[in-house]
């Protein structure tokens, strides 16, 4: 159960003189939802960007199944089974919801560029796209342009795209940003359902959600890990309370 799929070892990233992430060593096993929290500028998104290959680490290592993937390009990391969603909605706006997810599923088709094979002949990709849309509750949005979906639906679509790439590791950067209470509730249920079979890394601002869904919490401040442990341990931690949660969390 707690086999460590993804692990970082003294991972660091500097932008000029600024050390955005410094010496982060964390473990992300399959079947656990690991939430990373911290104030703005703590380096959470930078960490995710390094894990997904969007950013090249300055130093340190990222082990996926024991293999160091630090420095690989984003498409190579994705092919190795790391899927991600973005803080700022990142979809193919002009295309239909189905085509968004179908293209995500197509990325797993091996061999060649597919110059001749007609998309219509790969019904299996459409089936897989339908399954992913179904899973996030967007099956009815198939033929609508992604740009015409509501904000919450676009966030769901992004998760569906990520799922269609059949990842083992899910990197979710603030999937709840800008969502209403009802949408949030649905998304939280979805997040919980994703934990089985995936190592889930969640960056999120909504503390109620974080404490209710996370199996493990890491608090980052100024690019470094302040504390890492179970939600109860984090709640009880005096250091965290002082640095981040503040006094008014006492009775929570």
């Amino acid at each position: 159960m707690s086999e460590t799929l993804l692990r970082t070892d003294t991972l660091s990233k500097s932008f000029g003189g600024l050390r955005a992430v410094s010496d982060v060593s964390l473990e992300f096993p399959v079947g656990l939802l690991h939430a990373v929290i911290g104030p703005n500028g703590a380096g959470k998104t930078t960490l995710i960007n390094m894990l997904s290959g969007d950013l090249k680490p300055s130093s340190g290592a990222i082990y996926l199944n024991g293999e160091n993937i630090a420095g690989l390009r984003a498409d190579q990391v994705s092919k190795k089974g790391v899927g991600r969603s973005y803080q700022k909605t990142n979809i193919l706006a002009e295309m239909t919801a189905l085509e968004n997810v179908r293209l995500a599923a197509q990325s797993r088709v091996g061999g060649g560029l597919g110059l001749i094979t007609a998309v219509k002949r790969r019904g299996d990709l459409i089936d897989r796209a339908h399954a992913a849309l179904e899973r996030v509750g967007l099956r009815a949005a198939d033929d609508r342009p992604a740009s015409a979906l509501s904000h919450g639906e676009q966030r769901q679509l992004e998760i569906a795209m990520t799922l269609a790439t059949e990842p083992n590791v899910l990197l979710l950067d603030e999937p709840l940003a800008g969502m209403g209470p009802e949408e949030t509730e649905r998304m939280v249920a979805l997040l919980r359902s994703l934990v089985a079979g995936h190592a889930v890394v969640l960056v999120e601002h909504d503390m109620d959600v974080v404490f209710s869904v996370a199996d493990r919490l890491t608090v980052m401040v100024n690019g470094a890990v302040l504390e890492s442990g179970s939600p109860q341990a984090i709640r009880a931690s005096a250091v965290v309370r002082e640095a981040y949660l503040g006094e008014d969390e006492d009775d929570a």
Partner: protein, 372 residues
């Protein structure tokens, strides 16, 4: 919103009908057109192929290149290289060789310039295009900066029939019989083949990936697509097709000059793409046709205008001189007007019209049903 998507909106049948009628006009034109206009028609179709090839980059992959004429020029010059004396070489090897050279150049130029994006990509492709221009203009390779004649038309022996001359003839054959206009029909067949090829390509897995890259390159990379490789493949395919156009051009005009590869030519192809509309495969054909027609009409209009104003004593100009001097001015104004009125080009107008007719018919049918 919906109009911006490339989804099938049900009006495709009407557009297809329009394209079939257009094809019929192209196919029958030599029966009625004078030799001059048939040759002009060949030229238009060559440019249509060239513009369609650029549109694969600009309209479907999201790569705005200002060096596309390089591949046109390289293939055109290849015809000159392959017939150094007066002995004609066969189409069967000169065509693949010329197109292959253009593709090879596209591989090298693409591999380097695709490391940049946006305006930088535009500038780097422009620079590479100019390098090819100067290669033909300033080195012994190109023969002369003013251009060189191709001494012999490639022979075209198909199915045991040896067509003695591929090129369209200048005059009607004695006795009123029409010249066979072989090249016109060969070019028409090539244009259709390129259209069909692009239609298959854009429906393929590959085609959907490059369309995704145009919309959101970053997301496509995060989904696991090696974006650079796909863009390079698209660039090389466009270079190959541009090479086909260059080959046909050299065979048609039997004269090649460095300007074929220059940035001015690249800009003109881009203009055809924009004028015709980027969202469709056939748009650039309309663009090439419209640009040539506009040029002819502008010249005629100026000639008539100047003749009239001379007659009432307003001006004293040679109408023909004025036409060749000022047609670009008229052309420019009209193009600006078209781009403002039709941001999606002529094909956008066709698509909108088809959608409008379709919806009009549907609502008329609905009213009729309600009335009964």
């Amino acid at each position: 919103m919906i109009g911006a998507t490339t989804t099938d909106n049900g009006a495709n049948g009407l557009v297809r009908l329009f394209l079939l009628v257009g094809l019929g006009v192209f196919a029958l034109f030599p029966l009625v057109g004078s030799t001059f206009y048939v040759q002009l028609g060949t030229k238009v179709m060559v440019f249509a192929i060239l513009a369609m090839s650029l549109n694969l980059l600009v309209g479907f992959t999201g790569l705005v290149s200002l060096g596309h004429a390089a591949f046109f020029g390289i293939a055109a010059y290849s015809v000159y290289f392959f017939t150094p004396g007066f002995t004609a070489a066969s189409v069967w090897w000169t065509l693949p060789a010329a197109v292959g050279l253009a593709g090879l150049a596209a591989l090298v130029i693409g591999a380097l310039s695709l490391r940049t994006k946006g305006i930088f990509f535009l500038m780097v492709t422009l620079a590479f295009g100019q390098m090819v221009f100067f290669l033909f203009h300033d080195t012994p390779i190109g023969g002369s900066p003013d251009g060189v004649y191709v001494n012999a038309v490639p022979t075209f022996d198909a199915l045991g029939i040896d067509l003695p001359e591929l090129r369209d003839r200048y005059q009607l054959i004695e006795g009123g019989a029409r010249a066979p206009f072989t090249l016109y029909y060969v070019t028409l067949a090539c244009m259709l083949a390129v259209y069909a090829f692009l239609a298959v390509l854009l429906r393929s897995l590959f085609g959907h990936v490059i369309k995704g890259i145009r919309v959101n390159e970053h997301r496509m990379r995060a989904l696991g697509y090696p974006v650079y490789g796909y863009k390079l493949a698209s660039f090389v395919i466009a270079g190959l097709l541009g090479g086909l156009a260059g080959y046909l051009w050299a065979v048609q005009s039997l004269f090649v000059n460095p300007e074929l590869a220059g940035w001015h030519m690249s800009a003109e192809i881009l203009l055809m793409v924009i004028l015709g509309g980027m969202g469709t495969i056939y748009g650039p054909i309309l663009g090439a046709l419209a640009l040539e027609a506009l040029r002819e009409l502008a010249e005629i209009a100026i000639e008539y205008g100047v003749t009239a104003s001379n007659a009432i004593g307003l001006t004293e100009m040679d109408p023909h001189r004025a036409a060749t001097d000022y047609y670009l001015l008229v052309e420019g104004v009209v193009i600006i007007a078209i781009v403002i009125v039709l941001p999606r080009g002529l094909s956008g107008l066709i698509e909108d019209l088809a959608a409008y007719l379709r919806s009009g018919r549907r609502s008329a049918k609905g009213e009729a049903e309600q009335a009964t």
